[in-house]
Amino acid sequence: MRLNTYHLGDGELRAYQDHSLVGKDLERVRDHLSVCQHCNTRADELLARAQHVQDTLSILDRGVEIQPEKNLPAALIRLAAQIESEKEKQSMKPSIFSRIPRFAWTALIVIAVMAFAFSFEPVRALASDFLALFRVEQIRVVEFDSDQVSKNFEQSSKLEFFLSDQVQVEEKGTVREVDSAEEASALAGFPLRQLSNFEGQPFFTVQPGASMSFTIDLELINGILRDLERDDIQLPDNLQGANIQIEIPAGVVSSYGDCNFAENQFDPDQPEASMKAMENCVTFFQSPSPVVSAPPELDLTQIGEAYLQLLGMNAQEAATFAKSVDWTTTFVFPLPRNYARYEQVFIDGTQGTLVFERNYQYGHYTLLWVKDGMIYALTGSGNKDKALEIAASIQ
């Protein structure tokens, strides 16, 4: 143990004081405290502060006159009355996005935020001399076994909190539904492509863009890696404090066919029936590539390798994969193999990825591709031929 340079973090000391460490972590901290005066002094300071905070917060409970336990019978009656009168809704919000597989949106939105943030090399420096930019030109799929990935990782719900506790998000407007492609195009700020072999009038949902920014918190990340028993994964020190900014442009979802979301609300307890009701609906999503900005001196490829290891690759596999990818232009898309299967197809003059969900008998697909800086996603029910036939009609 390098006592002259290595010290425990405040988080580890607080967790130790609160008896929240177990196993190897507990042993490691205890062993370190047995020999490190610096950390013992720090532990004393943290303990004193925690005591002071607790004493101060206890002021809120003094002289409380209202006693909720006396209101308990009345509260029960109120609750029973509300349960009786309120109609139970077993549905998600009527939203076109319920038709798109959840993992795809996780990738498109969350991974578009995170994978980009750690999977690019500096392309050029702006006049402000501290930013590097990245845009998507192609998609590369990485399969992983979701049963093997730590439950903690899956339950660390918002992936952005893996890198930072303070993610600032600014949404630039509200979702709007319009009847004409011209209006959707004007709202989104780009020319709209459409499917040409559908009868009837499609409708268009314009999703507003968003700006995200966060500062990378290395202590937080290392805590999570210890949680996942992956403290073998090393991250560069200069990550600490790096500011990442992501601009997510507006997107448009065009709905064709029988897409009556208000009547055919998705029932998570009966997904097959829900999907059957929507088998004549096709949705077509399009949006310009997100733009990621970060300090150019960061070796973010190393972060990408760490992420791939978290998905189950060993260090060598992750390094090999990282070298095989043009990180300046590639959107790395994680696909849980026990949930879906995929194949590469040729579509719209370029290579695309066709994904089929394993659990639905109606052959629900998502076709993803990138062309001229635009990301496209086509979803519907049917087999590969049907998916490609529909995609071929795009104008």
Binding site: L13, S20, I66, L72, A75, L79, I224
Partner: protein, 194 residues
């Protein structure tokens, strides 16, 4: 060398909640028992966050209603699920108060002016102290204030992690920072108020 480190936060434990009994009824969640067990601590936690008892009870009720209508698939995390819903509602309520800091300040002072304390100086001083604590909490980042209140309400690190949707390994770090932030906010307020 371990004497200081061996001191435990739990020796000066926040108000302890009763452990949630395992809900193994063949019919599913024993909702009424769970409600009776959690009603008071949940109301108190929301009251510490909001400073208003009526609002705390309303949001507590709304939280139980949501639990009843859409229970989580995993019943072992009911408490954390409930607190997650309740604290989200509480934070949303705080954001909805357009001028919340001024409201708290004004309400505290108006309350003191309009409701003369029945007791003498001690009662008055207590209300002022509570006002200072609440202003300090309101001036913090909401998630920082939240983690403090959840820990003070007796939630474990695992429950806090589920409630706040963070990794369990992050709780210690965020809690330490929140304690530092609160101390700074409270001290700053004391200095301003003299």
């Amino acid at each position: 060398m371990n004497s200081a480190a061996e001191k435990s936060w739990l020796t000066m434990t926040p108000p302890q909640r009763s452990a949630l009994p395992v809900l193994t009824s063949p019919s599913g969640v024993d909702f009424e028992s769970f409600f009776k067990l959690q009603w008071e601590p949940l109301c108190r936690t929301l009251y510490r966050l909001l400073g208003d008892w009526d609002e705390a009870e309303d949001l507590a009720l709304e939280s139980f209603l949501r639990l009843y209508n859409r229970p989580p698939k995993d019943p072992s995390n009911l408490t954390a699920w409930l607190y997650r819903v309740a604290t989200n509602l509480g934070l949303n309520a705080l954001r909805a108060r357009k001028r919340r800091l001024r409201y708290e300040d004004r309400a505290g002072k108006n309350d003191l002016e309009d409701h003369a304390p029945s007791d003498p100086a001690q009662d008055f001083e207590q209300k002022m102290d509570q006002h200072r604590v609440r202003v300090a909490l309101q001036s913090m980042k909401p998630r920082s204030a939240l983690i403090l209140l959840l820990r003070y309400s007796g939630l474990t690190y695992a429950e806090i992690a589920v409630t706040m949707q963070i990794a369990p390994g992050s709780v210690g770090t965020l809690l330490a920072r929140a304690e530092k932030e609160f101390e700074k906010a409270f001290t700053a307020y004391e200095e301003v108020e003299g």
